[in-house]
Amino acid sequence: MEARILDQFRAIVGRGLITETSQLHTYECDGLTNFRVLPQAVLLPALTAEVQAIVQICQREKIPFVARGSGTGLSGGALPVDKGIVISLARMNRILEVDLLNARVVAEPGVINADVTQRVAPHGYFYAPDPSSQSVCSIGGNVAENSGGAHCLKYGFTTTHVLALEVVLPDGSIVHLGSRALDRPGYDLPGIFVGSEGTLGIATKVVLRIVKKPAVIQTLLAAFNTTEEAGAAVSGIIGAGMLPAAIEMMDNLAIQAAEASVHAGYPDCGGLLLVELDGPAAEVEHLIEEVSAICTQCGAWEIRVAQSEAERAVFWKGRKAAFAAMGRISPNYIVQDGVIPRTALPKVLSEIERMSAAAGLRVANVFHAGDGNLHPLVLYDGRIAGQEERAMELSINILRLCVQCGGSITGEHGVGEEKKMMMGEMFAEPDLATMQLVRCAFDPEQLSNPGKVFPRTRFCAERTGPYQPHPLEVAGVAQFF
């Protein structure tokens, strides 16, 4: 990068400019480590005005930028782009305001997810979105990815809990989307910004909605011989008209890994369910009996209800550690994030089993069973030639299966770099062209996290509607895949 531009950046952020190659390596990937790009520079602004000044330079000099929170994303959303810079929001980590009476919290993007709950917990509130990485992931990253978590079955996703944002647009202007009061007249811009994976601008302030803690939380653990039986119990619970706070399922391989890693004391079984109910005491006590009865009917041979907060934490520990625990039983693994209609579960699980056998690779399943969000973990050994490729292929084929069953390629991890080629399998060309209209309205020059989410870069001057080859394509100058 030219020295004159670096000088301009330095004038804005001072020591918050990183150009040393050894230090830049820290930022070359996010939680998806098999994609790496070294950024030209990393900037760590501390104020909205600094973010704005940086983006204005990027706009003037046509430098692509990628915003980054804690770098825990699992789809390569924060992967740097060629000839681009990374803007880390880690220094903007203050909780600016807590308004308990209206259940609003104003946070900077670098605030850690769990810190919001920690701040309001003494007053009986919590921040509901709870991705498994919540002790390290940032609110800004959650906004970009529309992060979920185990409890979004009942409480909704990040988008449910973001009421307003201050955003630096790719043209360097600052705008305010939404408001603290509900239903601000105009287009639902927070609705479109949350989950846009950093392609529409950089959030510099976020107004969050917090939720009152339920009176009672009860967590039940049930052991089944098979995932089919566990799946039947899930259908039974939902069919009985209950909306648990969470329903999680793990198969035997996932249980083995969790046990080896954190010793949660799970029974050695083919399918494990964790069901959490919360709400008024009288209601939860009654419903947990019903859940227990349904599980028994569906073949559960062991049922435990957590008797204390400590025991509940242990129940969850195994589940939350499941991804990382795979390292105990396999040198390498790929995490996937498909979604299926809940009723397709038996079919999809047996198909995954078949595909896994055909590929000669083990697949562990961790599953937000209540909302159909499947996390198949494809295990492989990268030292064995050809295994990584087969594992990648298997994981893509599992996503394909999810789409064929009427589901989605991602429930909470985002499309990012990793799954952009799958977008065309889920959406038709006119669907993608229409999404691109939004992109072009926010970022006509495509400087904000370019090349992510969509299967090909599309110029904003292109016509919408049925697919038309770009003049450069016709002339053979450029190709799009």
Binding site: R180, P185, G186, Y187, I192, P341
Partner: protein
């Protein structure tokens, strides 16, 4: 233009294109034609024909909220047509095991609920005029009622959408699963956009079970006592600040010729019998200062009663943070004191509500509305006029002041509808 009308007849069938009449008027403006396509493809095709011919299109469903928005901007040159979803009205799929439903835009809310109820489920929303209002219209106007305190509004319930764009593109976004972050969230962008970006042809929703038990409690303030009213407001805030989970908390209030302005509060619980009873007991303990009354019949539909009364009147949707509701009542009292106006309101505890103002003449109403809006906006809220005399509409933007995001909104509109086919001028900031 004549060719365009013929093309439209060819697409939807001559029997489904008719001349507009007074019954089709939007405000007082009568569109030349009413076109009723049978399905999404015909809607998209008709839109393309209209756009290519430079016609303006007013999307329409059950016509219950047809006058919402600013007056249509028309130049007298281009023709206007109503594109109705009335015939595209099927419940396409109720995947009850997955608790989702796919429905065409022209389906009435009541028809959808009837179908869902066969499997003990519902769309957890309580819009105005459910027997006539259609899914497309409810989405375009982002209507919601008391249930939102527990289930959120449409943005929290819609998971997929099909939009017909002015160039004839049919585009899908979202999907049939509740949890899905693939691509931009166009269902949310379309919700509340008043048909200015595209016509909603189909929507997919997440569903909830019909509750096993529903119980309502109502309270009234003691007559003439300011302290009684205040304690009722405190009750509304206290219920939100405790760990009960009501599915409705609303306040009803009206002006009074004497100082005895009556305020009433309704609280609803759903769930198991034991859960409802425990929460009712807890509410009664918290409400010890209030007078319990028999809940009026159909009290959760109280919003719709604001559409009847003395004319001229204006009906507004207001939104504030919850703690501002009490001071909002003070503002209403102030603006309606002299010259004297009558008012009634139904406010949801989350801070959103409807207000009816009745005055002797339009000038009085206009000045009260301007005053009230100024105060509400200075508190970070909004006041949108849903219905009022046309004279007022011509002098006051029904949506209120636009934010610094207006250029961005205009840019989105320009991308989706570059020729300004859809509802020109009717949305925020002249969009």
């Amino acid at each position: 233009m004549k060719t365009a009308w013929n093309d439209l007849r060819a697409v939807v069938g001559a029997g489904h294109v008719r001349a507009g009449s007074e019954l089709d008027a939007v405000d007082v403006f009568i569109p030349q034609m009413v076109v009723e396509p049978a399905n999404a493809e015909e809607i998209a095709h008709a839109l393309k024909i209209a756009t290519d011919a430079g016609l303006r299109v007013i999307p329409c469903g059950g016509t219950t909220k047809r006058d919402w928005g600013n007056p249509l901007r028309h130049d007298g040159q281009s023709g206007e047509l109503i594109l109705s979803t009335r015939r595209s009205n099927r419940v396409v799929e109720h995947a009850w095991g997955d608790m989702t439903a796919t429905v065409e835009a022209g389906c009435t809310f009541q028809q959808l609920q009837k179908t869902l109820a066969e499997h003990g489920q519902r769309l957890a929303l309580d819009p105005l005029w459910p027997e006539r209002a259609t899914i497309g219209g409810i989405l375009a106007t982002n209507d919601s009622g008391p249930l939102r305190i527990r289930f959120g509004s449409l943005r929290d319930l819609i998971i997929g959408i099909t939009l017909a764009l002015p160039d004839g593109t049919l585009a899908k976004s979202g999907g049939k699963v509740v949890k899905n972050v693939a691509g931009y969230d166009l269902p949310k962008l379309a919700t509340g956009s008043l048909g200015t970006l595209g016509m909603i042809t189909q929507a997919i929703f997440r569903l909830h079970p019909i509750p096993r038990e529903t119980r309502t409690l109502s309270f009234a303030s003691s007559e003439g006592l300011t302290s009684g009213r205040e304690s009722l407001h405190d009750l509304v805030l206290a219920i939100q600040d405790c760990n009960m989970v009501p599915t409705g908390v609303q306040m009803r209030a009206a002006s009074s010729p004497t100082e005895n302005e009556l305020h009433e509060v309704d609280v609803r619980f759903e769930g198991t019998t034991a859960g409802c009873e425990a929460q009712i007991e807890q509410t009664l303990r918290m409400a010890s200062g209030a007078r319990r009354i028999e809940a009026p019949a159909d009290v959760w539909n109280a919003r719709s009663t604001l559409w009847t009364g003395v004319e001229p009147s204006a009906i507004c949707k207001f939104s504030l943070v919850p703690t501002e509701i009490a001071s909002f009542l003070g503002l209403i009292r102030k603006v309606s004191r002299s010259p004297s106006l009558h008012w009634r309101l139904v406010a949801q505890a989350v801070g959103v509500g409807l207000l009816r103002l009745e005055g002797n003449d339009n000038a009085t109403l206009l000045s009260a509305l301007e005053d009230l809006r100024k105060q509400v906006e200075s508190r970070g809220g909004s006041l949108v006029i849903l219905r009022c005399p046309l004279e007022i509409k011509s002098k006051m933007d029904v949506w209120g002041s636009a934010s610094d995001a207006l250029p961005l909104m205009k840019s989105i509109k320009a991308r989706f509808d570059p020729r300004g086919t859809l509802n020109p001028g009717r949305f925020v900031g002249g969009i």
